[in-house]
Amino acid sequence: MLRFALRRLLQMIPTVIAVSLLIFVIFSIVPGSIASSMIADGRGTNDPKLVERIKQEFGLDQPVHVRFGNYAWSLAQFDLGTSFRTRQPVSSMIGERLWPTLKLAFAAMCVAIVIGLPLGFIAALKPGSLLDSLTMIGAISGLSLPQFWLGLLVMYLFALTLGWLPSFGYGDGGLRNLILPALTLGVAPLALLARTTRAAVLEVMNADFIRTARSKGMNSFRLVKWHVVRNALVLVITTLGLQFGSMMGQAVVVEKLFSWPGLGSLLIDSVGLRDIPVVQGSILVLVLCFLLVNTLVDVLYAVIDPRISHG
């Protein structure tokens, strides 16, 4: 199992290299620069000398291949560079923001799993029932909502109208501030998970070994507990891992809306201000998170399904 995990980890390397190359290329041709972003709000005057000095300090006046060389060389030493805007190491800036994002993603996943998984199960166990229909209509609706719109709606409902929860921000890092953004971010994976679970359970329920299990004379509870859950999970877990990626993307929107101090809002700010090292670093870290989660999923998959690890 350890070797399997190691092998999967090693397989990440080419992807990581390709991603870092790609984002370097993209952000070396993007218009605008850190210098121009400094006067973007019309305050002060544009000081051409300052612009020159800024470009010099950050090596932006060097030709592309030299810049790429420097970038690749630092990356090879696990150095993400220095932020143009703050002059702090990118890694420490990302370090500050990573935990809130992971917390948000984790909480959203929890929302999705805690609600979506059982809902999908129940729907599948009574296919065609009212509950099943409602769940599936709800699920497909959940997948059809623009996320920031949904966020705005829950914000108005739970924070403004009902006054139950704070509407924004990180607070002291507690649960109260986490609920609304996690809910907003969790709705799409929840819906998808409910659908996937339902489909997976239906598929398993039609399997031959379920008929065998029935012929043993077990009740539905034991049938589900002993034979359906694990088999359905195998099908669900893969979806969950892949879903994590698009959730990392959606986190950008949700973090911005809820003023959540995560990697997503750091990324979107840095794109706007053309703080390129931070942009590159953030994307790289997001991709790494995604790859790690999917490796974890693969390992989990192997743990659950003996056919993988033995084969």
Binding site: P31, G32, S33, A35, S36, S37, M38, I39, A40, D41, G42, R43, G44, T45, N46, D47, P48, K49, L50, V51, R53, I54, Q56, E57, S83, R85, T86, R87, Q88, M93, E96, R97, P100, L152, M155, Y156, A159, L160, G163, P166, S167, F168, G169, Y170, G171, G173, E255, K256, L257, S259, W260, P261, G262, S265, L266, I268, D269, G272, L273, R274
Partner: protein, 532 residues
């Protein structure tokens, strides 16, 4: 006019708030927690204010730091802050400051002339490109130091611990140069010390307490602040809240004590009987305009530029779209400028005249141009969307070209536009603002429309040399009116900043520079503040 406006609105606010609170308004109460907002973005860039160029960072800097001068919001002028007295030489180049002897940094060290020299020298660090350098570079020898040609800044001279002599390279008002929060004074050697930028130390009324990146920065009362009796509140939480809708909800939810309002919210708050009581309106020093490129043929003709000014119903846009959250521009200098011409008339809405002018200029059927703008609701695509049908009526087709703000601020100084829409600082120093249209000012700096008019240049030169303020303002007024006549831009409006504050918050100041940047030490909360 501005001052009156601000005073009237605060007055009416406190009157409306009722007699009870009026009584308490007399006597500031100490204690309590203020939840302030930093609304211009979703993060602070760093805790090194010299390295920043973003208003957003002034929100925390204003609490922790102090600069040599400060902005007097009520008088709308720079005033001495860290000095008690200043004398100026006859050539108006050398200033001698008597520094205050009761100023202590949060770590207990007393402030001396060395700290100021250290700070200004650091800002000009040859190895770094600190944005704050633009304010310091007017000190004699600063540029040489920055370019590595000198070992120190020759214009900075310590007479004794509490006497500092600063020599400028140009006879300009140093108040505007040494007032910005970006030039905050650090204790000697602080920036080289480990941990200064995670736990900054300053001279301000509040001490750094905690920073949750991207979320909030908290400061606590500095008991040794030199202005005795202040600050009032025990703690200020500065919440980072870039999203206007989220801010709106938070404010209504009483989670924050202030909110900066957009046009739509301004209307909503004004029509809400409760919220309407506590709104502060301030004429800020930004002029919103559409600049015309002199390289684009039709715009080389003054009549075309004027025609556009006639063709757009600016008043209607301000009334309906900006929801009266702006003052109609009748030239470049804003309402709060001492050189503002109260009698100047803005271009009236007259599409017939516009058509006639266009025909005269040789464009009876109009023409098409591309207008580069950002998403901004007050000086971006929202306004452009309203202009398009208006100009269409006189035959001018406008193609909107949306860009990100950092792309606009590269394209405009680079001259890469046919027309652009932007908001440009037009104060507080009127001379600085109008110098942007001097023919010697390069496009890359701030003469974005490459304005070139010898008469105008003469007026500006004269104003620079003017002996008295009245004389100077007179000349600037003339220059401003000339500018309006020449119409290098469509004069849209001057920003009216609007801030809503909770009924328990008092001491809000009408800061025309940037209303949301408040002197925290003057704010206080009464006992109706919710428990925090």
């Amino acid at each position: 006019m501005l001052k009156k406006l601000a005073i009237i609105s605060t007055l009416s606010a406190s009157l409306l708030a009722g007699a009870a609170s009026f009584a308490t308004a007399e006597e500031p109460r100490s204690g309590g927690v203020i939840n302030f907002v930093a609304p211009y973005g979703s993060s602070f860039s760093s805790l090194d204010i010299h390295a920043s160029a973003q208003v957003q960072d002034e929100f925390w800097a204003k609490a922790i730091h102090r600069s040599l001068y400060d902005w007097d919001a009520n008088e709308s002028k720079p005033v001495l802050e860290l000095a008690t007295d200043v004398s100026v030489s006859d050539d108006r180049l050398t200033y001698t400051y008597k520094l205050r002897q009761d100023a202590y940094f949060h770590d207990g060290k007393q402030m001396t002339a060395d700290d100021i020299i250290y700070t200004y020298t650091r800002i000009m660090d040859p190895a770094k490109a600190y944005p704050a350098a633009q304010y310091i570079s007017n000190i004699k020898g600063a540029t040489e130091y920055n370019e590595g040609k000198a070992k120190e800044i020759s214009g900075l001279k310590k007479i004794d611990d509490f006497t500092l002599e600063i020599t400028l390279s140009d006879p300009i008002d140093p108040g505007y140069q040494f007032m910005p929060n970006y030039t905050a004074i650090y204790p000697v050697g602080a920036a080289e010390k480990e941990g200064f930028f995670t736990n900054p130390v300053g001279l301000g009324p509040y001490k750094f307490a905690e920073y949750v990146p991207g979320s909030r920065l908290s400061v606590v009362k500095n008991d040794k602040y030199y202005d005795t009796g202040k600050p009032y509140a025990d703690k200020v939480n500065i919440m980072i809240m870039g999203d206007a809708s989220a801010r709106d909800v938070a404010f209504r939810n009483k989670e924050v004590d202030v909110s900066v309002l957009g046009p739509a919210q301004y209307v909503a708050y004004k029509s809400d009987p409760e919220l309407a009581n506590n709104i502060m309106e301030v004429a800020e020093v930004y002029t919103r305009h559409v600049g015309f490129s002199p390289d684009f043929k039709p715009f080389q003709d003054k009549r075309v530029r004027q025609a556009i000014n006639y063709a757009i119903d600016s008043d209607l846009i301000i009334k309906r779209l900006a929801k009266d959250k702006a003052y109609r521009a009748s030239g470049w200098l804003p309402v709060s400028s001492p050189a503002y011409d109260k009698d100047a008339k803005p271009y009236p809405y007259d599409p017939e005249k516009a058509k006639a002018l266009l025909a005269e200029a040789g464009y009876p059927d109009g023409f098409e141009f591309e207008l580069t703008a950002t998403q901004n609701e007050s000086w971006g695509l929202t306004i452009v969307e309203a202009i398009i049908p208006m100009l269409d009526k006189v035959g001018i087709k406008v193609k909107a070209k949306p860009v990100e703000s950092s792309v606009l601020s590269e394209a405009v100084p680079g001259g890469d536009f046919q027309a652009y829409m932007w908001s440009q600082e037009s104060g507080p120093d009127s001379l600085t603002a109008l110098r942007c249209f001097h023919s010697k000012t390069p496009q890359a700096s701030c003469n974005y429309t490459k304005f070139n008019n010898p008469d105008y240049d003469k007026l500006i030169e004269a104003a620079r040399q003017a002996a008295t303020d009245d004389e100077k303002n007179d000349l600037l007024r003339k220059a401003n009116n000339l500018l309006q006549e020449e119409a290098p831009v469509w004069f849209f409006n001057y920003n009216k900043a609007v801030m809503a504050y909770q009924p328990w918050l008092h001491g809000v100041q009408p800061n025309s520079q940037e209303m949301a940047i408040q002197s925290y030490e003057k704010l206080w909360v009464d006992d109706t503040v919710p428990a925090r």
